[in-house]
Amino acid sequence: MIALDGVSCVIGGRRIVDRVSLTVADGEFCALVGPSGSGKSTTLKTINRLVPISDGVIRIDGADIVAANVEALRRSIGYVIQSIGLFPHWTVADNIATVPRLLGWPEDRRRHRVAELLTLLRLDPAAAEKYPHQLSGGQQQRVGVARALAADPAILLMDEPFGALDPITRTALQTELAAIHRRLGKTILFVTHDIDEALRLADRIAILDAGRLVQVGTPEELLANPASDFVREFVGDPELRRLALKIARRNAE
């Protein structure tokens, strides 16, 4: 369980995140949504301490994250970013096994895990010995997700992971991620500016505006009772969204 309690971030005199309190239950898929500059990425990065908080407390399973060793904390959390950031001089297998290697797993356990993840992400087993530049953008992000899952973390932080992909590849990866979430039951916090993506994937959606949390709820709640004009405008035509949601849910089953 991730619990943010009154979290604020002041960077260079600007309050990027403003007293955000949010709890993500174990196994929940929560989307952080908002326009650019709303502080959603910054909020995400406070959880693996890539961004220091100025005020408030963040607890994971009840323990204050500041108390933990920062590198140990990060190794226990999967992290996926839009620009992927694979090591270009490492093979796909080495990239996927990055965190297991940092954790000192023996080699055959790492190899076994890599094979497992390649299958899970529907990557060709032969891709293991390739280099990232030999893969397409979509395949690279599959490797990025596999890398985040490698050490079997309970929590996955995803920062607009599919934002740079073409629509078809993006939809394919969204379907894949939903299936992985159902199967593995990870706690996922997912940043996106795309409300359709959030509606399709998330159990719960948190909407941010100018660093403040303006509404948290299930997709249906958001569509039925938008808390403000901002949310209503951001969510758009509820009938259309509900329809899209229904289709997406049916397709997923």
């Binding site: 693996n48 890539l50 920062v70 590198e71 140990a72 904390l73 990060r74 190794r75 992290y79 970013i81 620009s83 992927i84 950031g85 694979l86 090591f87 270009p88 001089h89 990055t98 965190v99 940092l102 280099y131 530049h133 990025g144 890398r147 932080l157």
Partner: protein, 387 residues
Amino acid sequence: MNARRNRVIPVLIAVFALGGVVGPFLNQAPNRLVSGTPIAIWQALDRPILFLIVAFAGLLIAVSRIGATPNLHRAMLVLATVLFLLLLYGAGKGATFFMGGAALAARVSLGWGFWLMVLCAAFAIVDAAQRMNLPPRMRLLLAGAFLVYLVAMAMNGTFDQLSLTRELAIRRGAFLAELARHGELVVGAIVPALLIGVPLGLWATRRPRVRPVLFGTLNVLQTIPSVALFGLLIGPLSALAVAVPAVGALGIHGIGMAPALVALVLYALLPIVRNSAAGIEAADPAIIEAARGMGFSPRQILWHAQLPLGLPVFLAGLRIVLVQTIGLAVIAALIGGGGLGSFIFQGIGQNAIDLVLLGAIPVTLLALAADFVLQLAVATVEQRSRR
């Protein structure tokens, strides 16, 4: 294919022809101090060799006009290489012919026509090799084969009667000593410059405020003319040797190797520091962010991402530094530091061009070899960490 027609080769061959028709191929003189009488290429060379040179030059143009395919580039590389070797062989043979029966003090030296032609042939080789875009291993193999062939020609006595070779034969001991000294100067400057420069470059990336001050200082150092810097160091270093006798006992004096090494280190610092810093920053910020997010320590990021990804940039800097230092070490001779510069300055003093070349040619070859090797290293490393 028309758009990619080679324009380099026709120009090179035109200059080549000019050198052949107008310039003296060899010079014959009764001793090494007078300038002598010019010998044209058609007087210097046997008919068959002359014919072959003309034929190969013509073929080179013809091939370059056909188009730009890998096979044609390969043909051009072979033609240019043969042309180059024919010129060397011809010059050696010509010298042997004109020295036959001449007095021991007589000299047959290479004329500017020869140098122009050889240079054009060399450029044609480089041009063809670049168009072929060979992998590092092939380049090394070809350069090796070329070198072996040249050495074989030299061992065979082809060049023995050229004035340059005779000059070398007379000064063999001194030449080897100065060559070794030149190497000492270069290595003795590069190693400390790396030991100082790499940490400084790292420091500059960690402290944004240090950077402009550091780079500004090094830039100013770089602008001091080399002769002036060598001279400027004489004062402080001799004062130091007098004040602290232990330092003097180590061989550090106002003149000699010590000021030369200090100056060479100072000149080497800017490119090393700048390229170390640029290398550290070469990695894509996304890679650094992902690495941090996965729980890499700063040292692990440096070791696993920044250093390997910055290596090509760093090696490119090292290449500049090596070539620069090999050239600059010539000046060391002016303040008693020795090295191949000794021959150059002696030669200038005695107006003996062969002596100047005895210093200048090895310096050029050393610089070219260093450049070639590091180019290969960069290509190899880049091939491994292609993005």
